[in-house]
Amino acid sequence: MTAHIAPLPADLVSPQTERPTVLAVEDLGLSLRNADGLLPIVTDVSFSIREGEAVALVGESGCGKSITASAIMGIAPDNAVITGTITLNGKVISGLSPRDRRRLCGRHMGFIFQEPMTALHPTLSIGRQMTDTLRHNLGLSHGAATDRAAELLGRVGIPRARDILKGYVHELSGGMRQRVMIALAISCGPSLIIADEPTTALDVTIQAQVLDLLDDMRRELNLAMLFITHDLEVVGDFCEKAVVMYAGDVVERGLSADVVRAPAHPYARGLIDAVPAHDDGRTRLTPILGTVPPVGQWPEGCRFAPRCSRADGQCGTRPSLERHGPTDARCWHPLETMP
Protein backbone atom coordinates (compact mmCIF):
# COMPACT_ATOMS: atom_id res chain seq x y z
CA MET A 1 0.00 0.00 0.00
CA THR A 2 2.84 2.31 0.75
CA ALA A 3 3.86 1.90 -2.85
CA HIS A 4 1.33 4.59 -3.76
CA ILE A 5 3.42 7.22 -2.04
CA ALA A 6 7.06 6.92 -2.91
CA PRO A 7 8.89 6.08 0.31
CA LEU A 8 11.85 8.30 -0.40
CA PRO A 9 14.49 8.68 2.30
CA ALA A 10 13.92 11.89 4.19
CA ASP A 11 16.98 13.69 2.84
CA LEU A 12 16.08 12.94 -0.74
CA VAL A 13 12.64 14.46 -0.64
CA SER A 14 12.47 17.21 -3.24
CA PRO A 15 10.97 20.60 -2.36
CA GLN A 16 7.95 20.03 -4.62
CA THR A 17 6.82 16.98 -2.67
CA GLU A 18 7.65 18.63 0.64
CA ARG A 19 4.42 18.64 2.60
CA PRO A 20 3.85 20.91 5.58
CA THR A 21 4.39 19.40 9.02
CA VAL A 22 1.11 18.97 10.91
CA LEU A 23 2.35 17.60 14.21
CA ALA A 24 5.78 17.97 15.72
CA VAL A 25 6.62 16.41 19.07
CA GLU A 26 9.94 17.38 20.59
CA ASP A 27 11.50 15.88 23.70
CA LEU A 28 8.12 14.99 25.10
CA GLY A 29 8.35 13.66 28.64
CA LEU A 30 5.54 12.59 30.91
CA SER A 31 5.70 11.71 34.58
CA LEU A 32 2.94 10.87 37.00
CA ARG A 33 2.96 12.59 40.35
CA ASN A 34 2.20 10.19 43.18
CA ALA A 35 2.86 9.93 46.88
CA ASP A 36 6.51 8.99 46.31
CA GLY A 37 7.26 11.84 43.92
CA LEU A 38 7.44 11.80 40.14
CA LEU A 39 7.23 8.51 38.30
CA PRO A 40 8.58 8.82 34.75
CA ILE A 41 6.35 7.12 32.17
CA VAL A 42 7.67 8.52 28.90
CA THR A 43 10.99 10.25 28.19
CA ASP A 44 12.47 12.16 25.24
CA VAL A 45 9.92 11.32 22.60
CA SER A 46 10.41 13.20 19.35
CA PHE A 47 8.82 12.72 15.95
CA SER A 48 6.82 14.64 13.41
CA ILE A 49 3.99 13.94 11.00
CA ARG A 50 3.36 15.71 7.74
CA GLU A 51 0.18 16.29 5.84
CA GLY A 52 -1.15 13.07 4.32
CA GLU A 53 1.41 11.02 6.15
CA ALA A 54 0.85 8.08 8.49
CA VAL A 55 3.33 7.54 11.29
CA ALA A 56 3.24 4.44 13.43
CA LEU A 57 3.98 4.46 17.13
CA VAL A 58 4.89 0.83 17.82
CA GLY A 59 5.54 -1.01 21.04
CA GLU A 60 4.40 -3.67 23.47
CA SER A 61 1.99 -3.00 26.27
CA GLY A 62 3.39 -0.69 28.90
CA CYS A 63 5.89 1.03 26.62
CA GLY A 64 4.08 4.36 26.93
CA LYS A 65 2.60 4.68 23.47
CA SER A 66 -0.98 5.30 24.52
CA ILE A 67 -0.11 7.83 27.17
CA THR A 68 2.03 9.67 24.60
CA ALA A 69 -1.10 9.94 22.48
CA SER A 70 -3.12 11.21 25.44
CA ALA A 71 -0.46 13.88 26.08
CA ILE A 72 -0.76 15.04 22.47
CA MET A 73 -4.56 15.10 22.73
CA GLY A 74 -4.40 17.01 25.98
CA ILE A 75 -6.36 14.41 27.92
CA ALA A 76 -3.53 13.00 30.03
CA PRO A 77 -4.43 12.16 33.67
CA ASP A 78 -4.68 15.09 36.09
CA ASN A 79 -1.52 14.09 37.94
CA ALA A 80 0.60 14.00 34.78
CA VAL A 81 3.56 16.37 34.49
CA ILE A 82 4.36 16.95 30.83
CA THR A 83 7.58 18.44 29.46
CA GLY A 84 8.76 19.16 25.92
CA THR A 85 7.00 20.86 23.04
CA ILE A 86 4.04 19.79 20.96
CA THR A 87 3.44 21.83 17.81
CA LEU A 88 0.24 21.52 15.79
CA ASN A 89 0.14 23.20 12.37
CA GLY A 90 2.99 25.46 13.32
CA LYS A 91 1.44 26.54 16.61
CA VAL A 92 2.91 25.43 19.92
CA ILE A 93 0.04 23.84 21.82
CA SER A 94 1.87 22.27 24.73
CA GLY A 95 1.64 25.42 26.84
CA LEU A 96 -2.05 26.10 26.26
CA SER A 97 -4.64 25.97 29.02
CA PRO A 98 -6.79 22.84 29.25
CA ARG A 99 -9.75 24.82 27.97
CA ASP A 100 -7.86 25.97 24.88
CA ARG A 101 -6.54 22.46 24.34
CA ARG A 102 -10.10 21.17 24.41
CA ARG A 103 -11.01 23.62 21.64
CA LEU A 104 -8.45 21.98 19.37
CA CYS A 105 -10.04 18.59 19.85
CA GLY A 106 -12.53 17.62 17.19
CA ARG A 107 -11.84 20.59 14.95
CA HIS A 108 -8.11 20.07 14.55
CA MET A 109 -7.46 16.63 15.99
CA GLY A 110 -9.67 13.59 15.74
CA PHE A 111 -9.36 10.43 17.78
CA ILE A 112 -10.09 6.80 17.16
CA PHE A 113 -9.99 4.38 20.06
CA GLN A 114 -9.34 0.69 20.29
CA GLU A 115 -12.71 -0.43 21.59
CA PRO A 116 -15.55 1.38 19.80
CA MET A 117 -18.05 -0.51 21.94
CA THR A 118 -16.93 1.33 25.05
CA ALA A 119 -15.69 4.47 23.31
CA LEU A 120 -19.17 5.33 22.06
CA HIS A 121 -21.90 6.29 24.48
CA PRO A 122 -24.11 3.31 25.34
CA THR A 123 -27.39 5.13 25.79
CA LEU A 124 -27.18 8.11 23.44
CA SER A 125 -28.04 7.46 19.81
CA ILE A 126 -25.29 7.45 17.20
CA GLY A 127 -26.94 10.46 15.60
CA ARG A 128 -27.04 12.38 18.85
CA GLN A 129 -23.35 11.82 19.48
CA MET A 130 -22.43 12.93 15.97
CA THR A 131 -24.68 15.96 15.84
CA ASP A 132 -23.58 17.13 19.30
CA THR A 133 -20.03 17.24 18.00
CA LEU A 134 -20.94 18.85 14.69
CA ARG A 135 -23.18 21.47 16.23
CA HIS A 136 -20.69 22.42 18.88
CA ASN A 137 -17.56 22.48 16.75
CA LEU A 138 -18.97 23.75 13.47
CA GLY A 139 -22.00 25.66 14.74
CA LEU A 140 -24.35 23.75 12.44
CA SER A 141 -28.11 23.73 12.91
CA HIS A 142 -29.77 20.50 13.99
CA GLY A 143 -30.95 19.74 10.47
CA ALA A 144 -27.63 20.55 8.84
CA ALA A 145 -25.77 18.51 11.44
CA THR A 146 -28.03 15.51 10.84
CA ASP A 147 -27.53 15.76 7.08
CA ARG A 148 -23.79 16.01 7.53
CA ALA A 149 -23.76 13.07 9.94
CA ALA A 150 -25.65 10.91 7.45
CA GLU A 151 -23.27 11.97 4.70
CA LEU A 152 -20.27 11.08 6.88
CA LEU A 153 -21.67 7.66 7.70
CA GLY A 154 -22.18 7.02 4.01
CA ARG A 155 -18.65 8.08 3.34
CA VAL A 156 -17.21 5.51 5.76
CA GLY A 157 -19.21 2.80 4.06
CA ILE A 158 -22.23 2.47 6.32
CA PRO A 159 -25.42 1.63 4.43
CA ARG A 160 -28.82 3.00 5.50
CA ALA A 161 -27.09 5.88 7.26
CA ARG A 162 -30.34 7.57 8.33
CA ASP A 163 -31.49 4.45 10.20
CA ILE A 164 -28.13 3.93 11.82
CA LEU A 165 -28.22 7.50 13.13
CA LYS A 166 -31.31 6.61 15.14
CA GLY A 167 -29.67 3.48 16.48
CA TYR A 168 -27.33 2.75 19.37
CA VAL A 169 -23.86 1.34 19.53
CA HIS A 170 -24.88 -2.06 20.89
CA GLU A 171 -26.96 -2.68 17.79
CA LEU A 172 -23.95 -2.52 15.49
CA SER A 173 -21.30 -5.10 14.69
CA GLY A 174 -17.69 -4.50 15.65
CA GLY A 175 -16.65 -3.31 12.22
CA MET A 176 -19.61 -0.95 11.92
CA ARG A 177 -18.88 0.52 15.33
CA GLN A 178 -15.35 1.32 14.32
CA ARG A 179 -16.64 2.92 11.12
CA VAL A 180 -18.90 5.14 13.22
CA MET A 181 -15.91 6.01 15.37
CA ILE A 182 -13.96 6.98 12.25
CA ALA A 183 -16.86 9.07 10.94
CA LEU A 184 -17.00 10.86 14.29
CA ALA A 185 -13.26 11.48 14.28
CA ILE A 186 -13.20 13.04 10.81
CA SER A 187 -16.53 14.83 11.20
CA CYS A 188 -15.19 18.30 11.97
CA GLY A 189 -12.42 18.32 9.40
CA PRO A 190 -9.34 17.77 11.55
CA SER A 191 -5.86 17.84 10.06
CA LEU A 192 -4.55 15.18 12.44
CA ILE A 193 -6.04 11.81 13.34
CA ILE A 194 -4.72 9.84 16.27
CA ALA A 195 -5.75 6.19 16.10
CA ASP A 196 -4.98 4.08 19.18
CA GLU A 197 -4.90 0.39 18.16
CA PRO A 198 -7.95 0.95 15.97
CA THR A 199 -8.10 -2.60 14.62
CA THR A 200 -6.77 -4.68 17.51
CA ALA A 201 -10.21 -5.60 18.78
CA LEU A 202 -11.47 -6.61 15.33
CA ASP A 203 -11.48 -9.86 13.41
CA VAL A 204 -8.85 -10.33 10.71
CA THR A 205 -11.14 -9.82 7.73
CA ILE A 206 -12.81 -6.81 9.35
CA GLN A 207 -9.44 -5.45 10.41
CA ALA A 208 -8.39 -5.38 6.78
CA GLN A 209 -11.55 -3.47 5.82
CA VAL A 210 -11.06 -0.87 8.51
CA LEU A 211 -7.38 -0.40 7.65
CA ASP A 212 -8.37 0.15 4.04
CA LEU A 213 -10.95 2.69 5.09
CA LEU A 214 -8.45 4.57 7.23
CA ASP A 215 -6.01 4.54 4.35
CA ASP A 216 -8.64 5.90 1.97
CA MET A 217 -9.63 8.63 4.40
CA ARG A 218 -6.02 9.65 4.87
CA ARG A 219 -5.55 10.01 1.13
CA GLU A 220 -8.84 11.70 0.36
CA LEU A 221 -8.67 14.19 3.21
CA ASN A 222 -4.90 14.57 3.18
CA LEU A 223 -4.83 13.71 6.89
CA ALA A 224 -1.79 13.40 9.06
CA MET A 225 -2.22 10.20 11.04
CA LEU A 226 -0.60 8.89 14.19
CA PHE A 227 -1.20 5.17 14.23
CA ILE A 228 -0.57 3.43 17.52
CA THR A 229 -0.09 -0.32 17.30
CA HIS A 230 1.72 -3.29 18.76
CA ASP A 231 1.85 -5.09 15.42
CA LEU A 232 4.91 -4.33 13.33
CA GLU A 233 3.45 -6.13 10.34
CA VAL A 234 0.55 -3.73 10.16
CA VAL A 235 3.07 -0.90 10.27
CA GLY A 236 4.88 -2.08 7.16
CA ASP A 237 1.64 -2.19 5.22
CA PHE A 238 0.09 0.95 6.39
CA CYS A 239 2.49 3.64 7.56
CA GLU A 240 5.25 5.59 5.92
CA LYS A 241 7.22 6.15 9.06
CA ALA A 242 7.55 4.19 12.26
CA VAL A 243 8.59 5.14 15.77
CA VAL A 244 9.40 2.13 17.97
CA MET A 245 9.03 2.61 21.72
CA TYR A 246 10.37 0.52 24.56
CA ALA A 247 9.97 1.25 28.28
CA GLY A 248 9.02 4.88 27.71
CA ASP A 249 11.75 5.57 25.21
CA VAL A 250 11.91 5.94 21.45
CA VAL A 251 14.43 3.24 20.52
CA GLU A 252 14.14 3.40 16.75
CA ARG A 253 12.71 5.82 14.23
CA GLY A 254 12.67 5.88 10.45
CA LEU A 255 10.79 4.99 7.32
CA SER A 256 8.67 1.99 8.18
CA ALA A 257 10.01 -0.03 5.26
CA ASP A 258 13.50 0.35 6.72
CA VAL A 259 12.41 -0.29 10.31
CA VAL A 260 10.58 -3.46 9.35
CA ARG A 261 13.15 -4.78 6.89
CA ALA A 262 16.43 -3.72 8.44
CA PRO A 263 16.11 -2.40 11.96
CA ALA A 264 19.21 -1.14 13.72
CA HIS A 265 17.96 -1.61 17.27
CA PRO A 266 18.11 -5.15 18.69
CA TYR A 267 14.67 -4.69 20.25
CA ALA A 268 13.05 -3.84 16.92
CA ARG A 269 14.80 -6.82 15.38
CA GLY A 270 13.61 -8.98 18.26
CA LEU A 271 10.00 -7.90 17.78
CA ILE A 272 10.17 -8.96 14.14
CA ASP A 273 11.83 -12.29 14.85
CA ALA A 274 9.43 -13.14 17.66
CA VAL A 275 6.46 -13.29 15.32
CA PRO A 276 6.00 -16.47 13.33
CA ALA A 277 5.94 -15.47 9.69
CA HIS A 278 3.61 -17.22 7.28
CA ASP A 279 6.06 -19.12 5.23
CA ASP A 280 9.39 -19.28 6.96
CA GLY A 281 8.92 -22.89 8.06
CA ARG A 282 10.68 -22.29 11.36
CA THR A 283 10.25 -24.82 14.13
CA ARG A 284 11.45 -22.42 16.79
CA LEU A 285 10.81 -18.76 17.27
CA THR A 286 13.40 -16.34 18.50
CA PRO A 287 11.86 -14.74 21.56
CA ILE A 288 13.09 -11.68 23.36
CA LEU A 289 14.14 -13.06 26.72
CA GLY A 290 12.66 -11.83 29.97
CA THR A 291 9.85 -9.32 30.25
CA VAL A 292 9.36 -5.59 29.79
CA PRO A 293 10.47 -3.91 33.04
CA PRO A 294 7.51 -2.27 34.75
CA VAL A 295 7.37 1.51 35.05
CA GLY A 296 9.50 2.60 37.99
CA GLN A 297 11.87 -0.34 37.60
CA TRP A 298 13.69 0.75 34.49
CA PRO A 299 17.38 -0.05 34.47
CA GLU A 300 19.96 2.72 34.32
CA GLY A 301 21.42 3.44 30.91
CA CYS A 302 19.91 1.53 28.03
CA ARG A 303 16.58 0.20 29.24
CA PHE A 304 16.72 -2.79 26.92
CA ALA A 305 20.21 -3.86 28.01
CA PRO A 306 19.14 -6.57 30.53
CA ARG A 307 17.28 -8.41 27.74
CA CYS A 308 19.81 -7.72 25.00
CA SER A 309 22.34 -10.24 23.74
CA ARG A 310 24.64 -7.45 22.51
CA ALA A 311 24.77 -5.56 25.80
CA ASP A 312 28.08 -4.78 27.48
CA GLY A 313 29.47 -2.32 30.00
CA GLN A 314 28.87 0.66 27.75
CA CYS A 315 25.13 0.03 27.90
CA GLY A 316 25.17 1.19 31.53
CA THR A 317 25.07 4.73 30.19
CA ARG A 318 22.10 5.96 28.27
CA PRO A 319 22.55 6.07 24.50
CA SER A 320 21.04 8.89 22.47
CA LEU A 321 18.88 8.58 19.40
CA GLU A 322 21.30 8.69 16.48
CA ARG A 323 21.34 7.84 12.84
CA HIS A 324 22.58 4.35 12.05
CA GLY A 325 22.20 3.51 8.37
CA PRO A 326 18.77 4.51 7.12
CA THR A 327 17.14 4.82 10.55
CA ASP A 328 17.68 6.53 13.89
CA ALA A 329 18.30 4.21 16.84
CA ARG A 330 19.00 4.62 20.53
CA CYS A 331 21.70 1.98 20.80
CA TRP A 332 25.44 1.64 21.46
CA HIS A 333 25.73 -1.52 19.39
CA PRO A 334 23.29 -1.20 16.51
CA LEU A 335 22.83 -4.06 14.08
CA GLU A 336 24.61 -3.85 10.75
CA THR A 337 22.36 -2.69 8.00
CA MET A 338 21.82 -5.41 5.50
CA PRO A 339 22.44 -4.35 1.94
Binding site: L289, P306, S309
Partner: protein, 300 residues
Protein backbone atom coordinates in the same frame (compact mmCIF):
# COMPACT_ATOMS: atom_id res chain seq x y z
CA UNK B 1 8.31 -40.93 29.47
CA UNK B 2 11.41 -39.50 30.96
CA UNK B 3 11.01 -36.33 32.84
CA UNK B 4 14.39 -34.82 33.00
CA UNK B 5 15.03 -31.36 34.23
CA UNK B 6 14.55 -29.08 31.30
CA UNK B 7 17.35 -26.76 30.43
CA UNK B 8 15.35 -24.41 28.36
CA UNK B 9 17.16 -22.01 26.12
CA UNK B 10 14.42 -19.50 26.86
CA UNK B 11 16.24 -18.48 29.96
CA UNK B 12 17.68 -15.13 30.80
CA UNK B 13 21.41 -14.94 30.24
CA UNK B 14 23.21 -15.15 33.52
CA UNK B 15 20.73 -16.86 35.79
CA UNK B 16 17.21 -18.06 36.25
CA UNK B 17 16.07 -15.32 38.60
CA UNK B 18 13.42 -13.65 36.54
CA UNK B 19 12.17 -10.58 38.30
CA UNK B 20 8.83 -11.14 40.00
CA UNK B 21 6.29 -8.40 39.90
CA UNK B 22 6.40 -6.44 43.14
CA UNK B 23 4.61 -8.16 45.96
CA UNK B 24 1.47 -6.44 47.10
CA UNK B 25 1.11 -5.51 50.72
CA UNK B 26 -0.88 -7.94 52.82
CA UNK B 27 -4.38 -7.08 53.93
CA UNK B 28 -3.14 -6.50 57.47
CA UNK B 29 -0.47 -4.07 56.34
CA UNK B 30 -3.03 -2.17 54.31
CA UNK B 31 -5.44 -2.19 57.23
CA UNK B 32 -2.80 -0.71 59.50
CA UNK B 33 -1.94 1.93 56.91
CA UNK B 34 -5.56 3.00 56.51
CA UNK B 35 -6.43 5.74 59.02
CA UNK B 36 -10.19 5.31 58.62
CA UNK B 37 -9.96 1.60 59.24
CA UNK B 38 -7.79 2.11 62.30
CA UNK B 39 -10.06 4.84 63.66
CA UNK B 40 -13.13 2.63 63.26
CA UNK B 41 -11.38 -0.33 64.86
CA UNK B 42 -10.31 1.81 67.83
CA UNK B 43 -13.85 3.17 68.18
CA UNK B 44 -15.30 -0.31 68.09
CA UNK B 45 -12.75 -1.54 70.58
CA UNK B 46 -13.63 1.23 73.02
CA UNK B 47 -17.38 0.62 72.59
CA UNK B 48 -16.97 -3.12 73.02
CA UNK B 49 -14.72 -2.77 76.04
CA UNK B 50 -17.02 -0.32 77.76
CA UNK B 51 -19.95 -2.65 77.14
CA UNK B 52 -18.09 -5.73 78.34
CA UNK B 53 -16.62 -3.94 81.32
CA UNK B 54 -19.81 -2.03 82.15
CA UNK B 55 -20.32 -3.84 85.48
CA UNK B 56 -16.83 -2.69 86.51
CA UNK B 57 -16.88 0.81 85.04
CA UNK B 58 -20.38 1.62 86.25
CA UNK B 59 -21.24 -0.83 89.00
CA UNK B 60 -24.74 -1.22 90.30
CA UNK B 61 -28.12 -1.89 88.73
CA UNK B 62 -28.61 0.64 85.94
CA UNK B 63 -32.37 0.31 86.21
CA UNK B 64 -32.51 1.28 89.86
CA UNK B 65 -35.04 4.07 90.27
CA UNK B 66 -34.17 6.99 92.50
CA UNK B 67 -37.01 9.53 92.43
CA UNK B 68 -35.01 12.02 94.47
CA UNK B 69 -32.37 12.33 91.74
CA UNK B 70 -34.62 13.15 88.78
CA UNK B 71 -33.39 15.32 85.89
CA UNK B 72 -29.93 16.06 87.23
CA UNK B 73 -27.93 17.61 84.37
CA UNK B 74 -24.59 16.06 83.38
CA UNK B 75 -21.89 16.77 85.91
CA UNK B 76 -19.20 15.22 88.06
CA UNK B 77 -21.66 13.11 90.02
CA UNK B 78 -23.57 11.82 87.00
CA UNK B 79 -21.43 12.13 83.87
CA UNK B 80 -24.45 11.92 81.56
CA UNK B 81 -27.04 13.22 84.04
CA UNK B 82 -30.13 11.38 85.25
CA UNK B 83 -33.51 10.69 83.68
CA UNK B 84 -37.10 11.15 84.70
CA UNK B 85 -36.85 8.25 87.12
CA UNK B 86 -33.57 9.41 88.53
CA UNK B 87 -31.58 6.66 86.83
CA UNK B 88 -27.96 7.39 86.02
CA UNK B 89 -27.66 7.86 82.24
CA UNK B 90 -23.98 6.92 82.18
CA UNK B 91 -24.81 3.53 83.62
CA UNK B 92 -27.73 3.14 81.26
CA UNK B 93 -25.62 3.95 78.22
CA UNK B 94 -22.81 1.59 79.18
CA UNK B 95 -25.10 -1.28 80.07
CA UNK B 96 -27.36 -0.61 77.08
CA UNK B 97 -24.37 -1.14 74.82
CA UNK B 98 -24.22 -4.75 75.94
CA UNK B 99 -27.64 -5.37 74.46
CA UNK B 100 -26.93 -3.54 71.21
CA UNK B 101 -23.63 -5.23 70.50
CA UNK B 102 -24.87 -8.65 71.54
CA UNK B 103 -27.97 -8.45 69.36
CA UNK B 104 -25.88 -7.09 66.47
CA UNK B 105 -23.33 -9.87 66.73
CA UNK B 106 -25.85 -12.71 66.95
CA UNK B 107 -28.06 -11.34 64.17
CA UNK B 108 -25.07 -10.86 61.89
CA UNK B 109 -23.82 -14.36 62.56
CA UNK B 110 -27.22 -15.95 61.94
CA UNK B 111 -28.25 -14.02 58.87
CA UNK B 112 -24.83 -14.14 57.21
CA UNK B 113 -24.44 -17.89 57.77
CA UNK B 114 -27.82 -18.61 56.26
CA UNK B 115 -27.13 -16.15 53.45
CA UNK B 116 -23.80 -17.80 52.61
CA UNK B 117 -25.28 -21.29 52.41
CA UNK B 118 -28.33 -20.21 50.45
CA UNK B 119 -26.31 -17.80 48.32
CA UNK B 120 -23.86 -20.49 47.33
CA UNK B 121 -26.67 -22.86 46.40
CA UNK B 122 -28.56 -20.13 44.62
CA UNK B 123 -25.50 -19.04 42.68
CA UNK B 124 -24.96 -22.56 41.43
CA UNK B 125 -28.37 -24.05 40.77
CA UNK B 126 -30.48 -22.00 38.41
CA UNK B 127 -33.80 -23.55 39.34
CA UNK B 128 -33.29 -22.91 43.04
CA UNK B 129 -32.08 -19.44 42.24
CA UNK B 130 -35.22 -18.43 40.36
CA UNK B 131 -37.45 -19.42 43.28
CA UNK B 132 -35.16 -18.10 45.99
CA UNK B 133 -34.69 -14.72 44.37
CA UNK B 134 -38.41 -14.19 43.94
CA UNK B 135 -38.79 -15.05 47.61
CA UNK B 136 -36.10 -12.53 48.47
CA UNK B 137 -37.85 -9.90 46.36
CA UNK B 138 -41.01 -10.58 48.28
CA UNK B 139 -39.26 -10.56 51.62
CA UNK B 140 -37.66 -7.21 50.81
CA UNK B 141 -41.09 -5.81 50.01
CA UNK B 142 -42.51 -7.03 53.31
CA UNK B 143 -42.44 -4.32 55.96
CA UNK B 144 -40.05 -5.64 58.59
CA UNK B 145 -41.86 -3.72 61.26
CA UNK B 146 -45.01 -5.79 60.76
CA UNK B 147 -42.97 -8.95 61.12
CA UNK B 148 -41.32 -7.65 64.28
CA UNK B 149 -44.60 -6.48 65.74
CA UNK B 150 -46.28 -9.76 64.98
CA UNK B 151 -43.30 -11.67 66.35
CA UNK B 152 -43.42 -9.59 69.51
CA UNK B 153 -47.09 -10.48 69.69
CA UNK B 154 -46.42 -14.20 69.24
CA UNK B 155 -43.37 -14.62 71.42
CA UNK B 156 -43.65 -11.61 73.66
CA UNK B 157 -41.08 -8.82 73.50
CA UNK B 158 -37.68 -10.26 74.33
CA UNK B 159 -34.10 -10.51 73.13
CA UNK B 160 -34.91 -13.77 71.32
CA UNK B 161 -37.81 -12.15 69.52
CA UNK B 162 -35.74 -9.23 68.35
CA UNK B 163 -32.93 -11.48 67.19
CA UNK B 164 -35.32 -13.74 65.32
CA UNK B 165 -37.16 -11.04 63.47
CA UNK B 166 -34.04 -9.01 62.64
CA UNK B 167 -32.26 -12.12 61.40
CA UNK B 168 -35.15 -12.96 59.08
CA UNK B 169 -35.39 -9.42 57.77
CA UNK B 170 -31.64 -9.12 57.17
CA UNK B 171 -31.23 -12.44 55.39
CA UNK B 172 -32.70 -11.02 52.20
CA UNK B 173 -30.16 -8.22 51.59
CA UNK B 174 -27.26 -10.46 52.68
CA UNK B 175 -28.40 -13.22 50.41
CA UNK B 176 -28.54 -10.83 47.48
CA UNK B 177 -24.96 -9.75 48.04
CA UNK B 178 -23.60 -13.26 48.50
CA UNK B 179 -25.49 -14.62 45.54
CA UNK B 180 -24.39 -11.74 43.33
CA UNK B 181 -20.79 -12.42 44.25
CA UNK B 182 -21.11 -16.16 43.67
CA UNK B 183 -22.57 -15.45 40.24
CA UNK B 184 -19.63 -13.23 39.38
CA UNK B 185 -17.07 -15.71 40.66
CA UNK B 186 -18.77 -18.61 38.94
CA UNK B 187 -18.22 -16.98 35.57
CA UNK B 188 -14.50 -16.49 36.19
CA UNK B 189 -12.21 -18.54 34.08
CA UNK B 190 -10.53 -20.01 37.14
CA UNK B 191 -13.73 -21.95 37.87
CA UNK B 192 -13.84 -23.38 34.37
CA UNK B 193 -10.13 -24.13 34.68
CA UNK B 194 -10.74 -25.96 37.94
CA UNK B 195 -13.54 -27.96 36.36
CA UNK B 196 -11.27 -28.81 33.47
CA UNK B 197 -8.69 -30.07 35.95
CA UNK B 198 -11.38 -32.30 37.43
CA UNK B 199 -12.00 -30.57 40.76
CA UNK B 200 -15.21 -31.95 42.32
CA UNK B 201 -18.11 -29.59 43.01
CA UNK B 202 -17.82 -29.51 46.79
CA UNK B 203 -14.13 -28.71 46.58
CA UNK B 204 -14.94 -26.06 44.00
CA UNK B 205 -17.09 -24.38 46.66
CA UNK B 206 -14.66 -24.61 49.51
CA UNK B 207 -11.38 -23.96 47.73
CA UNK B 208 -12.35 -21.59 44.94
CA UNK B 209 -15.65 -19.89 45.53
CA UNK B 210 -15.79 -19.38 49.29
CA UNK B 211 -12.34 -17.79 49.56
CA UNK B 212 -13.24 -15.50 46.69
CA UNK B 213 -16.49 -14.34 48.27
CA UNK B 214 -15.03 -14.03 51.76
CA UNK B 215 -14.02 -10.41 51.26
CA UNK B 216 -17.43 -9.16 50.16
CA UNK B 217 -18.99 -11.27 52.91
CA UNK B 218 -16.82 -9.57 55.48
CA UNK B 219 -17.73 -6.15 54.14
CA UNK B 220 -21.41 -7.04 54.03
CA UNK B 221 -21.21 -8.43 57.57
CA UNK B 222 -20.11 -5.10 58.97
CA UNK B 223 -23.01 -3.36 57.24
CA UNK B 224 -25.45 -6.02 58.47
CA UNK B 225 -24.04 -5.56 61.95
CA UNK B 226 -24.78 -1.87 61.82
CA UNK B 227 -28.25 -2.49 60.39
CA UNK B 228 -28.95 -4.94 63.21
CA UNK B 229 -27.85 -2.49 65.90
CA UNK B 230 -30.00 0.18 64.32
CA UNK B 231 -32.91 -2.22 63.95
CA UNK B 232 -32.82 -3.33 67.56
CA UNK B 233 -32.80 0.25 68.76
CA UNK B 234 -35.66 1.18 66.43
CA UNK B 235 -37.84 -1.75 67.46
CA UNK B 236 -37.15 -1.24 71.13
CA UNK B 237 -37.91 2.44 70.73
CA UNK B 238 -41.44 1.76 69.53
CA UNK B 239 -41.90 -0.93 72.12
CA UNK B 240 -41.89 -4.06 69.98
CA UNK B 241 -38.27 -4.92 70.52
CA UNK B 242 -36.55 -6.04 73.62
CA UNK B 243 -39.00 -5.88 76.55
CA UNK B 244 -39.50 -2.70 78.59
CA UNK B 245 -37.91 -4.38 81.59
CA UNK B 246 -34.62 -4.80 79.74
CA UNK B 247 -32.10 -2.12 79.02
CA UNK B 248 -31.32 -0.91 75.55
CA UNK B 249 -30.46 2.40 73.92
CA UNK B 250 -33.72 2.28 72.04
CA UNK B 251 -35.69 1.63 75.22
CA UNK B 252 -33.94 4.47 76.98
CA UNK B 253 -35.09 6.86 74.27
CA UNK B 254 -38.74 5.80 74.36
CA UNK B 255 -39.46 7.59 77.60
CA UNK B 256 -36.88 10.27 77.00
CA UNK B 257 -38.77 11.90 74.15
CA UNK B 258 -41.46 13.05 76.55
CA UNK B 259 -38.90 15.03 78.52
CA UNK B 260 -36.93 16.42 75.63
CA UNK B 261 -37.63 20.03 76.63
CA UNK B 262 -36.72 19.60 80.27
CA UNK B 263 -33.77 17.24 79.97
CA UNK B 264 -32.32 17.04 76.48
CA UNK B 265 -29.38 15.03 77.77
CA UNK B 266 -31.53 11.93 78.23
CA UNK B 267 -32.14 12.05 74.50
CA UNK B 268 -28.60 13.02 73.61
CA UNK B 269 -26.40 10.37 75.20
CA UNK B 270 -28.08 7.07 74.28
CA UNK B 271 -28.55 8.33 70.72
CA UNK B 272 -24.97 9.48 70.50
CA UNK B 273 -23.72 6.09 71.67
CA UNK B 274 -25.96 4.41 69.12
CA UNK B 275 -24.77 6.67 66.33
CA UNK B 276 -21.10 6.18 67.18
CA UNK B 277 -21.53 2.42 67.10
CA UNK B 278 -23.23 2.51 63.73
CA UNK B 279 -20.71 5.01 62.43
CA UNK B 280 -17.78 2.85 63.50
CA UNK B 281 -19.32 -0.20 61.82
CA UNK B 282 -20.07 1.70 58.62
CA UNK B 283 -16.57 3.14 58.50
CA UNK B 284 -15.14 -0.31 59.07
CA UNK B 285 -17.24 -1.68 56.23
CA UNK B 286 -16.17 1.17 53.93
CA UNK B 287 -12.50 0.80 54.63
CA UNK B 288 -12.63 -3.00 54.42
CA UNK B 289 -14.18 -2.62 51.00
CA UNK B 290 -11.44 -0.22 49.96
CA UNK B 291 -8.75 -2.54 51.22
CA UNK B 292 -10.19 -5.78 49.89
CA UNK B 293 -11.33 -4.43 46.56
CA UNK B 294 -8.52 -2.34 45.12
CA UNK B 295 -10.64 -1.48 42.10
CA UNK B 296 -12.99 0.54 44.27
CA UNK B 297 -10.26 1.82 46.53
CA UNK B 298 -8.80 4.30 44.09
CA UNK B 299 -12.00 6.28 44.22
CA UNK B 300 -12.07 7.29 47.80
Amino acid sequence: MTLTQATSPDRLPGGDEEAFVTTNKTVWQRLLANPTAMASIVMLAILTLSAVLAPLLAPGNPLRVSPADRFIPPGAEHFFGTDNLGRDMFKMVLHGGRTSLFVGLVVTAISMSIAVVLGAISGFYRQVDVVLMRLVDGLMAFPGIVLATAAAGIMGPSMTTVITSLSIVLIAPSLRVVRGQVLVIRELQMIEAARAVGVPTLRLFTRYILPAVSSPILVQASFIFSAAVLGEAGLSFIGVGIGPKELSWGNALTEARNYIAQAPWIVLFPGLALMLTILALNLLGDSLRDILDPRLARRR
